[in-house]
Symmetry: C2
Subunit: 444 residues, 2 copies
């Protein structure tokens, strides 16, 4: 299907191609246009009917958005920007270089420009930067029929009409009411009598993480954003929250893999920026591994007498690291989903203790059979390896389970306490117990 349209475009049959394209979903149109050469993209984009051009534009990659804005006429820009919802416009502007922002703002009406500037001033990832102000406002004195008539009159320009907001003269929020409730209620009923006054709202400067948590907790479809005096300033809709949830998860993945988080797409991030986000933690962890090196050096004599001891270091360290990161991951995830609270720390530690003894013993037994019977390693060395394996797994799981909760208690990010940091602690414990047990058993 898209190949066919591509052929039409190659043959210069643009308006025929257009007729095919407009049957597609706007998201698919955007993806299709992205595959064209720049001039053809421009021709096709200009041929799109006005009603869908703005929608398609909002789904095109920011590089191509920039290209389009740079080459089209002022009048065309105006017709796109006027049709975009305010929050989409702000999202687009945030990605653009200064000259393009200027070109866009020049072609925006005075009121709208002021609003946009106000939005651009909210801190990144705050409720204010995510919300939209295109909502339907009602008054509690209206009856259902009046309310629906009001919606019919102003609803076209609103991002959502599924939830409407009841405000008094001072714009203080008094209640919310769903379109569903309006449709299903009698025409004469007063809004006041059917509106919901139990409103979940959030302040303008709240962080997106808290917003997502509330949406999940209360199964919301929209949430109200209010200022200090409980005046309604905007609403947040669930489609934005889906993006927030993925972004927060991406950040957690990155922190847990010892990176400074970034919300840029991998393929669109420069090599230098990728390196910058990775090198700091690698340096910190590399230097903290000095400590482990010192432990080994303290036991140089033991190593010289029984050099085979060195060959079990990687296995002990890897198993410890993996055990610790298993526990840390489950606990960090539990905290993020609010399934594990600070007060659960003892429950977690007790659980990890029992799990680690079960898992550690299994590993130690398998390992015993493997190295004593198959690899014919000396019994004392085997015992030292297996006992320190058990100790390492237990310590790794206790540390892995406990550290994220302690971090949370200290108001640090639990995700930063993940695998790499725990590995460094666990490595030290593994090596000290291994060498001290081996020294004692082997009389070194």
């Amino acid at each position: 299907m898209t190949d066919q349209i591509m052929n039409l475009i190659e043959e210069g049959k643009f308006s025929q191609a257009r007729n095919e394209i407009i049957e597609m979903n706007v998201v698919d149109i955007a993806h299709f246009l992205e595959q064209l050469e720049e001039e053809k993209l421009l021709v096709m984009f200009r041929l799109l009917p006005k009603e869908i051009a703005a929608d398609v534009f909002s789904y095109i990659s920011s590089e191509l958005q920039q290209y389009i804005i740079e080459v089209i006429a002022d009048k065309e820009i105006k017709s796109i920007i006027d049709k975009l919802f305010l929050d989409d416009t702000v999202d687009i502007l945030e990605e653009m270089p200064a000259n393009v922002v200027k070109k866009i703002l020049k072609n925006t009406s005075q009121d709208r420009r002021e609003l946009i500037n106000q939005f651009l001033n909210y801190p990144e990832n705050s409720a204010g930067s995510i919300m939209t102000i295109e909502y339907v406002d009602l008054k509690k004195e209206m009856n259902v029929k009046e309310a629906i008539d009001h919606i019919k009159k102003i609803g076209v320009d609103k991002e959502t009409i599924n939830t409407c907001y009841v405000m008094n003269k001072n714009r203080r929020l008094e209640g919310i009411i769903s379109l569903r409730k309006l449709i299903l209620s009698d025409e004469e009923t007063l809004i006041e009598d059917i509106m919901n006054t139990n409103i979940i709202s959030i302040q303008t400067y709240a962080d997106q993480e808290d917003i997502a948590a509330l949406f999940k907790k209360y199964d919301l479809l929209t949430m109200t954003v209010v200022d200090n005096e409980n005046r309604l300033v905007g609403i947040i809709t669930i489609d934005d929250v889906v993006d927030i949830i993925e972004q927060e998860n991406t950040e957690d993945f990155q922190k847990m893999a010892a990176m400074q988080p970034s919300d840029e797409e991998y393929l669109k991030t420069s090599v230098f920026n990728l390196a910058k986000h990775r090198v700091l933690w690698l340096l910190v962890l590399m230097i903290s591994a000095t400590f482990t090196g010192n432990i080994i050096r303290r036991y140089e004599d033991a190593l010289l007498s029984v050099v085979v001891l060195a060959s079990f270091i990687p296995m002990l360290m890897d198993t410890g690291g993996n055990s610790g990161s298993q526990s840390a991951t489950l606990v960090i995830r539990g905290i993020a989903l609010e399934e594990i609270k600070l007060k659960d720390i003892l429950k977690v530690l007790w659980k990890e203790l029992r799990v680690s003894i079960m898992v550690g013993s299994t590993l130690a037994i398998v390992n015993f059979i493997r190295i004593y019977y198959f690899e014919k390693v000396d019994l004392n060395v085997t015992i030292a390896v297996c006992v320190s394996l058990l100790i390492t797994v237990v310590v790794a799981k206790i540390v892995g389970g406990g550290l994220p909760i302690i971090a949370k208690k200290l108001k640090l990010d639990p995700a930063v306490m993940a695998a790499p940091l725990i590995t460094t602690i666990v490595d030290a414990v593994a090596l000290i117990s291994y060498f001290s047990i081996a020294s004692r058993l082997l009389g070194l």
Copy 2:
């Protein structure tokens, strides 16, 4: 506030407590009830008005749902279950033991029981098991006024009326139309002329991961589920998708930390089950570390001559592991969010090569200064450590960036290719390059 209600309940002032409680959000009521002793929970639950009791019930933990079903009378069960949406009922039943399921089904009408059984037969996490069948159906011959009247008549029992579905006589889906569009259109307009025929739908047996991907791609609020013959069988709403997204993310976190995934909450999972999900991968990775041990044993002579070599093993291994998991995490995440496609493999490898040289050189230089100037280690040993550090970082990042894409190509799960598996490969490379460079430089 909740303390105050708690006091009222302690003093036996139940109906006063009830009057306070019903002012709360249903989610908060559920959380509040969960904190009560079982008998008091029951008293308070029974005092809730019928309209909200079912809603509150659906938010209570499954242990307490089970308790309530076990002790209340058949008639009460019926009044709760009748008010629950079908998909919530199915979710609850999936968590209950057989005797409770029986008690619930006994108190359900014949039609509904058949529907429930049909739902319970869909594979877990398939579109069929997530969808609801409580949607509004319209006919294309209706005009807007008739459609709205139809919604008014049947809408109360429907999970969503924000999107309505237009079907022909054979229940084949012909279009969808939003309540918004209906409200904003002229009363005489025919549904046929304003319905959207560009429908994103999915088959009954599709996996929830694909469902979430479509919701995100097209910014959907609802999606239609159809059978092989394009007959509408149900709809999926975005509130369920938010849960799916978190569940899929949890699975990825678990796989990347070398665990078999489980969607049970940590605190509610038994110690045995936790151990079971962790031990398999630990065993596999422990045994594959034999390989690394063998490498060290091959270089026993080198170690005996220059025993300080052993002390850099942990640093090399940890840095390699961390570098690899950074790259793997970014790429796995990019694949999950569909930002990285299979065809991007060369772009990824080229990017990782450049990043790894940048990062690896920085680490090598810092390390050189640290161990040569501060720890006064022999120059040749220092060079061996730093060169193999650079090689390790480069290999780790290439392997970490490439393996997940290759896994995806082989239709395996990229997340399983994460940190632990990569660590084992990188460990081997690190040790071989380290010892062979050291042997050559030191003439061992």
